[in-house]
Structure formats: structure tokens, C-alpha cells
């Protein structure tokens, strides 16, 4: 027994030694563990704290409200309208198919919409609300409201959609917004467009996308591991896009469109004192609203296949032979370049031939106009005066002169897609056709035909330069921008272009007299239009062919119809003494400028001058 006790004590001492060592090791391990925790929790705290924060907090973009577009008087041309869409939270819907079938009885849901929605259901998380049907009609809203209790998880959600209250009136100016597509995504600043679904596709909407879009705001939200939003931590509000005030007057625009009636054509009206575009018309037009939420194939086809091509922007991209509307510019050139004295006159026989050649050029009036000076040459649009003048001037000087007015290159109006037109020269012809210039071509250029083409913006801007004694302004549509309605609009400065140097203002006055005579002299081509005016218009009619150059001036146009008929043009400004508006009008296939285009111009002048009397 004593031996056993002795052993017991020895064993106990052995155990105590072992336990002590074990405890020492354990204590050491505790220290190591504390060190490890210290490393993570204190030394690397920042790293993990930020990762935890990134886990927890998501930035949710809040797209800005797009800036409005208004006319110069504040009439709304593009706005954000409240619309309602049907949204479904899949996890709250027990039987999706049955619910969709039931909903389809209340709300029109086509196969395409249903398909897209079902694809979304598969791709997104079940607690996310998914749009099923956009733009509910009032009737659909009412029907759904009545039966709402039957549809848990289905909700009507308000949203903003772009709307163009003027419909067709401004489609070619303002353009439209459309859904951001794959192509856009490649060039877009993804951060700035976070949460935005639409962007400007054409027109002002596209040109001023940057200002209209605004700055995206963010909501910092707390989410859980599933991604479900639990609460909003804070928000940085979106900065709404800038409102744009166009220099266009909606009333004038309406009057101008009305003036065209059923005809197709274009008109651009400018304020010659600053280049502001007062009206910008291309008819026929289309309803820009169709494009905002995706146009149906059928509707799009109808637009593209319509014979008068409503989608074509005639004012911006249509190039036309300027025809006789070029005569005031060339008449002025004769005086300014010293080729013609103010009292110089010619005798019009009705036919003009280049000395030594057999090819003949005609006046529009059989038998000719008799003796005419510059004023009469403009009033009666006497071709012979300009055939000879062109020949004397030569193509090089003619090109240089007309170039000063901006022909042959884009005016730089604040719309994308503007075309240049053609101001022919030796250089241009060599490059284009690899051919030398022939004198006969100079002659035909003298009456604005031949290779010449111009856009209505160019013609209007050049006419404005005549009205403002050579001063030239870059045409522009936006004349003020505004950040929020509680701030004053800040005007956009006019951009002056290199002026046309006028040596003697008396030359300009003489040309103006000729242009006034077009409407106010009994001999004037448009005197029927100008007869009863209580103000004076300086203008010029033009009749030309758009495509074919084969037909010579003087062909019996009244016998022609439709496409074969000539394009009718008119350029002018008013009031002649203190010009406030300069314009260029084309009525496609209208026949003659005096009969088709001048009346349209007159209505535009009337509309503008009678509502805004000279200061």
C-alpha cells in the first residue's frame, strides 16, 4: 500500500509537470491567437472595414431629369411626362403564368412584351420589381385599379418619359430620344449614364445631349447578402439637365408649316442681326413621340416608304439648285468687283450665246426682256444679264465671291448632319470629275444652276448677310440655357463669322432696290405677292431643277407635273429698311418660285412682323 501511495504521489507530480507544460503551451497559443486577432482587427482594420462597407453599401444611381426644350417664349417643345407602367415582383407572385394571363385581360400585353418580361424574370433576382408594360393608358390604369387587390406583387409605378407636345411640328429640329442601344454603350460614359435609359438620337436632343442629360445622382443604400435594399443611408441628388431655350418661335414655326399646306419643302428663317434661327421647317414631318419608346416595325416602314419621305430633313440635308436666288449675290459681285457700273444695262433678246460658240442660253421670257439694268435684272430675273456677268467674272472670282457668303460649306448650325452643298470651282471639278472647267459652265453658274447646290440654311444665312450689310452670323437654334426654372436663363452668345467685305454700301442698296422691286414693282416676278404689303420685302424668286441638269431654262414647266416640275425657291428679308428676318424657302416641285415659294415666304414674313413689331 505504501508503495502504491508513493507511486501515486510520483505520478501526480509527473502529471502536474505535464499539466503545467500544457498550460504554458496553451497560454502561449492564446497569445498567438490574440496576436492574430490583433493583426486582423487592429493592424488590418482599415482594409477589412472598407471591405465590409463595400459589402454592405451599394451606390444606386438616380438618373437626372432631362432638361426641357422650349421655344424663345417658353413654350414647351420637349418635356418629361409622367407615365405609368406595370411592374411585377416575381417572388410575390404565386403563379406567374396565371397572373400574366389574368393581367392580359385588363391590360394589353402583346407577345413581344410578355416574352421580354419572362426573359427578365429568369435573369433577375426574384425580389426585384420588373417592368411588364410601359405607358398604361388611362383606361388600363382605371381597370387595373379596380382589380388591384387580385394581384399581389403587381404594381403601377410612375416614371418620366420624354414627350414632344408639338408632335410633328419640331421633329426635324428637336429630333428625339431613344433607348440607349449597344452602339451607344460603346461610346457612353457608363458612370454618367448609370440608371439612364434614353439619350438623344437626332436633332437638338442629340446635339445638346451633354447639357440636356444632367448629372446622375446617387443613393447610398444598405443591402444584405442577397442584394435586397434595406434602407437608404444618404443620397446625393441628381442634377437635372439644363433647359434649352430655342430661338425658334413656335408660333412662327406653326405659321410656316401651315404656309406649306400639302406641299413638301423646307424653310429656314433667321434673325439677320444675330443668326438666331426663327423657324426651321421641313415638311412633311413625323411625330417624334413614335421613336421614344421604340417604334414598331410597321410604323417605321410606313415612314420610310412614304413617297414624300417625312424622315428626310430637307432644311438640314436637302441640297437644291439655288437657281435665280443666287442673282442678288452675283449682281452685287459685279458692282463690288468693278465689273459693272451701277447704271450698266444690257439688252435682253431672249437668247444668249457665248461669242464664237453655237450653244445658246435662254431668258425665261420668250423674246427677251429688252433693256434692263441691275434693278430690273433682279426684278424680272433676267438671265442674260447674269450670263454675261458670269462670263466676265469667270469661275474663279465667282467662286471666291460666293465663298465669302458661306456657300459650299456647312454653316455650322447647332445640328448634326448638316451637308455642304456644292460651290463649284476649277479645283472642285478637277477633283470631282478630273476634267477642266469650261466657260459654258460658268455661264450656267451665273443663274445658280449647273453644279451649284445649296441648303436652305446656307441660302438663308447668305441672304441674312445681304440684309446686314455683309455681317455674318453662324446660325444657331439654342439661344439660352437654364439650370433649373428658378434661375435666369443664360444667353448663348452669337458667333460672328468672317463678314463679307463690302466696299461700297451703295452697291448693296442698289441690289436691295432690285430685290424690293421683285415684290413691289409691277415688273417684279413676285409683285402679285407683294402688292398689298404694308411693309417692304427685299426678295428674290428662283426656279430650278433639283436633279436633272439636262433641261435648259425656259422649258414649258406648266406642262409638267409632279417630280418633273421645277423646284420653287424664294430668298428674302424684311422689313427691307430694318431687316428683322431673313429666310429661304423651297417648295419642292412647286413650279415657279413666284407662284409657289413667294406666297409661303410672305406668310412667314407676315407672321413674324405682325406679332413682333419693330422696336
Amino acid at each position: 500500500m505504501s508503495r502504491a501511495i508513493k507511486e501515486q504521489q510520483a505520478e501526480q507530480r509527473l502529471f502536474q509537470a505535464r499539466a503545467l507544460v500544457a498550460f504554458a503551451v496553451i497560454a502561449l497559443v492564446v497569445v498567438v491567437m490574440l496576436a492574430r486577432f490583433f493583426e486582423l482587427m487592429v493592424l488590418r482594420h482599415e482594409e477589412f472595414a472598407s471591405r465590409s462597407e463595400r459589402n454592405r453599401v451599394k451606390l444606386q444611381p438616380m438618373p437626372p431629369a432631362r432638361g426641357l426644350i422650349l421655344d424663345r417664349n417658353g413654350e414647351v417643345l420637349a418635356e418629361n411626362r409622367l407615365a405609368y407602367r406595370l411592374e411585377v415582383v416575381p417572388e410575390r407572385v404565386a403563379d406567374m403564368q396565371a397572373t400574366l394571363d389574368e393581367l392580359a385581360r385588363l391590360v394589353e400585353i402583346d407577345a413581344e412584351e410578355r416574352e421580354r418580361f419572362e426573359a427578365m424574370v429568369k435573369a433577375r433576382r426574384a425580389f426585384q420589381s420588373l417592368p411588364l408594360k410601359l405607358r398604361l393608358s388611362d383606361e388600363e390604369l382605371a381597370r387595373f385599379a379596380l382589380d388591384r387587390y387580385r394581384f399581389p406583387g403587381v404594381d403601377v409605378v410612375p416614371y418620366l418619359t420624354r414627350h414632344y407636345p408639338q408632335g410633328e411640328l419640331f421633329a426635324h429640329v428637336i429630333g428625339y430620344v431613344g433607348r440607349i442601344d449597344r452602339e451607344d454603350l460603346e461610346t457612353l460614359d457608363a458612370e454618367r449614364y448609370a440608371g439612364t435609359s434614353h439619350l438623344g438620337k437626332t436633332g437638338i436632343e442629340r446635339q445638346y445631349e451633354d447639357q440636356l442629360h444632367g448629372e446622375v445622382g446617387y443613393e447610398r443604400v444598405e443591402i444584405n447578402a442577397e442584394g435586397r435594399v434595406l434602407r437608404v443611408l444618404d443620397r446625393e441628388p441628381a442634377l437635372a439637365g439644363q433647359n434649352l431655350f430655342l430661338s425658334i418661335d413656335a408660333g412662327l414655326q406653326r405659321a410656316a408649316v401651315a404656309a406649306f399646306g400639302q406641299e413638301s419643302g423646307a424653310a429656314v428663317a433667321l434673325d439677320p442681326r444675330n443668326g438666331e434661327v426663327l423657324a426651321f421647317v421641313s415638311v412633311p414631318s413625323y411625330d417624334a413621340n413614335l421613336f421614344v419608346n421604340g417604334i414598331s416595325r410597321r410604323q417605321y416602314q410606313a415612314l420610310t416608304e412614304a413617297p414624300l419621305k417625312p424622315l428626310f430633313n430637307r432644311a438640314l440635308q436637302g441640297t437644291y439648285e439655288p437657281g435665280s436666288t443666287l442673282k442678288p449675290f452675283l449682281g452685287l459681285a459685279g458692282l463690288e468687283l468693278g465689273l459693272r457700273a451701277p447704271d450698266y444695262s444690257i439688252y435682253s433678246t431672249g437668247v444668249f450665246t457665248i461669242p464664237g460658240q453655237t450653244l445658246s442660253f435662254r431668258d425665261w421670257k420668250r423674246g427677251g426682256h429688252g433693256r434692263v439694268d441691275l434693278v430690273e435684272s433682279l426684278a424680272q430675273s433676267v438671265n442674260s444679264y447674269y450670263y454675261q456677268l458670269a462670263l466676265d467674272m469667270g469661275i474663279d472670282r465667282m467662286h471666291a465671291w460666293l465663298d465669302q457668303f458661306g456657300f459650299g460649306r456647312p454653316t455650322g448650325i447647332d445640328l448634326g448632319g448638316e451637308v455642304a452643298g456644292i460651290l463649284p470651282s476649277r479645283e472642285w471639278k478637277r477633283q470631282r470629275f478630273d476634267q477642266p472647267w469650261y466657260p459654258g459652265e460658268t455661264v450656267i453658274c451665273g443663274i445658280g444652276q449647273g453644279y451649284n447646290t445649296a441648303t436652305m440654311i446656307q441660302l438663308a444665312a447668305a441672304t441674312a448677310a445681304l440684309a446686314s450689310q455683309g455681317q455674318r452670323w453662324r446660325p444657331r437654334l439654342v439661344h439660352a440655357t437654364q439650370r433649373g426654372f428658378d434661375t435666369a436663363p443664360s444667353p448663348v452668345a452669337s458667333a460672328a463669322e468672317t463678314p463679307v467685305p463690302i466696299r461700297q454700301l451703295s452697291h448693296l442698296a442698289l441690289v436691295q432696290r432690285g430685290m424690293e422691286a421683285v415684290l413691289h414693282s409691277p415688273t417684279g416676278t413676285a409683285h402679285l405677292v407683294g402688292d398689298d404689303l404694308d411693309y417692304r420685302i427685299a426678295g428674290k424668286t428662283g426656279t430650278a431643277q433639283r436633279v436633272s441638269r439636262s433641261r435648259r431654262e425656259g422649258a414649258p414647266e406648266r406642262e409638267l407635273t409632279g417630280d418633273e416640275r421645277h423646284q420653287a425657291l424664294f430668298v428674302g428679308y424684311a422689313p427691307a429698311a430694318q431687316p428683322q428676318i431673313a429666310l429661304a424657302v423651297i417648295v419642292e416641285h412647286g413650279g415657279s418660285g413666284s407662284q409657289a415659294a413667294a406666297p409661303v415666304a410672305r406668310k412667314i414674313f407676315d407672321a413674324w412682323l405682325q406679332r413682333s413689331p419693330p422696336p
Partner: protein, 370 residues
């Protein structure tokens, strides 16, 4: 020896409250209280969970008190039978067990359990029973017998396969052998042998999913949304806690459910996130106190069996703390080892408290020997 059984009068002394080691009991109660506090937060304020956990812990403490009143000699006599039963169950698992991927569970109709868990207690008891009769430090022959006692269940658990539990079971056996006075040279040799064997085991005996677990541990960022998720989120939870923590129920990692298994295996991450390093230090010191007190109690026991079992229980208890701590701080591959007494769940807490009951029994009956 065996005085307790011979003297019925002494036997009753175990029922006296003064024979329960109050500091150890208070330490365990403190851990249990902490468990309820953290479970409340980790469960997202679910009082039902707290109540359930309180019931389990209560049951555990009752069992502890009951075990404390059973003399060590009784446990000693039951040890071979208990060990034998566990071995049989392990064989049964291998033959007819079920589990996902690996066979671990034994379904007895009403009761589904892992025999390998029982072995964590049965093996130290068996070894202590064996060494109780032997002269210590053990001789070579005794060591070989002990090695077989450890080896058989470990192999059976390994082929389930459940390498983690096998290692923990082996460790609980190794602690007994260590405490019995295994020569330091043997210990050194065993450590070297294990390091040499590990690569062999990796190459020839490890399953792909086990290897994957190790890979994930080595680089949790490689697959942050997959199986590396737990490790990474746990590390983020712990690290974001900082020195003083985000505050009780304010831990975003756990409250927003980024942390998986937050009320069970990863409860320490929740605790760390909400109570900070200071809280962790308090907890680890509390564990150190419990383990130290348990080792002290073990060394006071007058019989070899009680001493060895108590010592092994204390050391194994700490191993769980270490493994769980290493797991949540991404120092060890993820393995389902709960944080002793704090993690939500009954099995672990109750069996641990029973083990502490054995330890208390050794304490309660220390005076009867000698």
C-alpha cells in the same frame, strides 16, 4: 484506490455544493451567458433561438452536476464498455451510415448522431482506464496497446471519411498519453513522423473535396462567391470589428447575412465584429482561465483515471477553441468545429458540459483518495 466505492458515507460528500469547484463553474456559466448574448445578435434578435439555447445549456449544466456526483471509479468501470460500444457504432457507420458526401451519421430511427463525436470522450476514458492500472510513465508495451486503442477508431473515422474529426479524436487520445508521462523523445519522434506522413496522406488518401477545402483556405479570393466565401466573409467580419467592435447587434457582416453559419460555427466572427479585439481578448482569457482551472483541478485529483480524463478534457476543450479561432481568422481550413459552449447548438454544448461533469467528479471526489 477505489476508496470512493468502498465508503458509501464519503460518496455523499460529492453532493455538497462546496465540493463543486465554484471558479470553474462560474467560468463555464460566464461562457454560457456570453453564448446567449451573441446568439441573440447572430440570430437577428430571435428570442426563440436564445430560449432554445438556454434550455440546452441548462440541460448541459444539470447533466454536469449529475456527472459531478458520480464517482470517477464508476466512470472508470464503464469506460471499456463505452469505448467498445462506440467502436461498434463506428463500424456500423462505415457499413450502413449515411451523410452527405461522407458517411458520418447513424440513423437510429428517433436519433441521428455521429458516433465519432462520442469517441472524442470515449477514447480518453478508455486510455485513462488502461493507464490507471499501469505504472507510469508507460512502458513500451503499454504504449503499443494505447496506440492500438487510438488507431482503431481513428482509422474507422478516417475512412468515413472525416479527417478533421479523426484528427481531433486522435488528439484527445494523444493528450492522455502525453499526460500519462510519455517520454519527450517519443513526443518529438511522433511529431516528426506525422510531418513525414502528412504529404503521403495528402497524395494518396485525401478526397477531392477535402483538398478543395485546403485550396480554398490557401486562397479564399480565388473563388470569392463559391466555397472561399465563408473564409473571406469571416475574415472581413473579424477585421472590420476593430479594437472596440461595432457594438452588440450592430455587426453588419452578420446582421446583413454576409456571414454564413453565423450563429453556429462562425459565431466567433460575429462576436469579434461586434465586440472588437477587446471583446476577443476577454473571451480568450476566459477560455484560458477555464482551461487553466480545469488543468489545476485535474492535477489535484488523487486517482490516475480522474486525472488523465480531466486533463484530456481540459486540453481537448482548448483545442476546439484554437481550431475555431483559427478557422474564423482564416488560419486553418474551414471545418465544422463549433466554438465551445458559445456556438448555437445542443450536441456540442451538452457533451462538453458532460465532459466537464467528469472533471468535476474528479474534483468532488479528490479528498476521498489519498
Amino acid at each position: 484506490m477505489n476508496r470512493a466505492m468502498r465508503s458509501p458515507g464519503d460518496w455523499w460528500r460529492g453532493w455538497l455544493p462546496r465540493d463543486i469547484d465554484l471558479p470553474l463553474l462560474l467560468g463555464l456559466l460566464a461562457l454560457a451567458a456570453l453564448s446567449l448574448v451573441v446568439v441573440y445578435s447572430a440570430g437577428g434578435g430571435d428570442t426563440d433561438m436564445v430560449f432554445k439555447q438556454a434550455m440546452r445549456l441548462g440541460l448541459g449544466f444539470v447533466l454536469l452536476l449529475i456527472c459531478a456526483r458520480i464517482p470517477p471509479s464508476a466512470f472508470r468501470r464503464w469506460s471499456p464498455w463505452f469505448y467498445g460500444l462506440c467502436l461498434l457504432l463506428l463500424v456500423a457507420v462505415v457499413v450502413a451510415g449515411e451523410g452527405k458526401g461522407a458517411q458520418r451519421w447513424l440513423d437510429l430511427g428517433v436519433l441521428r448522431f455521429q458516433p465519432s463525436e462520442l469517441m472524442k470522450l470515449a477514447l480518453p476514458m478508455m486510455l485513462a482506464w488502461y493507464f490507471h492500472e499501469r505504472v507510469l510513465p508507460p512502458r513500451l508495451g503499454a504504449l503499443l496497446v494505447a496506440a492500438v486503442m487510438v488507431g482503431v477508431p481513428v482509422v474507422l473515422i478516417t475512412i468515413q471519411p472525416d479527417l478533421g474529426t479523426a484528427l481531433l479524436v486522435a488528439l484527445s487520445g494523444a493528450f492522455v498519453i502525453y499526460l500519462a508521462g510519455l517520454s519527450w523523445w517519443w513526443i518529438l519522434g511522433a511529431l516528426l513522423a506525422i510531418s513525414a506522413y502528412a504529404p503521403v496522406h495528402w497524395t494518396y488518401f485525401m478526397h477531392d473535396y477535402q483538398k478543395q477545402r485546403v485550396y480554398n483556405f490557401l486562397d479564399p479570393n480565388a473563388d470569392p462567391l463559391g466555397s472561399g466565401w465563408q473564409t473571406m466573409q469571416s475574415q472581413i467580419a473579424v477585421g472590420s470589428g476593430g479594437l472596440s467592435g461595432k457594438g452588440w447587434t450592430e455587426g453588419t457582416q452578420s446582421q446583413l447575412e454576409f456571414l454564413p453559419e453565423r450563429h453556429t460555427d462562425f459565431i466567433l466572427a460575429v462576436y469579434s465584429e461586434e465586440f472588437g479585439w477587446i471583446g476577443v481578448a476577454v473571451l480568450l482569457v476566459l477560455y484560458l482561465f477555464v482551461v487553466g482551472r480545469a488543468l489545476w483541478i485535474a492535477s489535484q485529483a488523487k486517482d490516475t483515471y480522474g486525472r488523465l480524463v480531466a486533463g484530456a478534457v481540459a486540453m481537448t476543450f482548448f483545442v476546439y477553441v484554437l481550431v475555431n479561432g483559427a478557422m474564423v481568422t482564416a488560419m486553418m481550413p474551414v471545418k465544422g468545429v463549433p466554438l465551445p459552449l458559445v456556438s448555437y447548438g445542443g450536441t456540442s454544448a451538452v457533451s462538453l458540459l458532460i465532459a466537464f461533469g467528469l472533471l468535476m467528479s474528479a474534483y468532488a471526489h479528490r479528498r476521498m483518495l489519498g
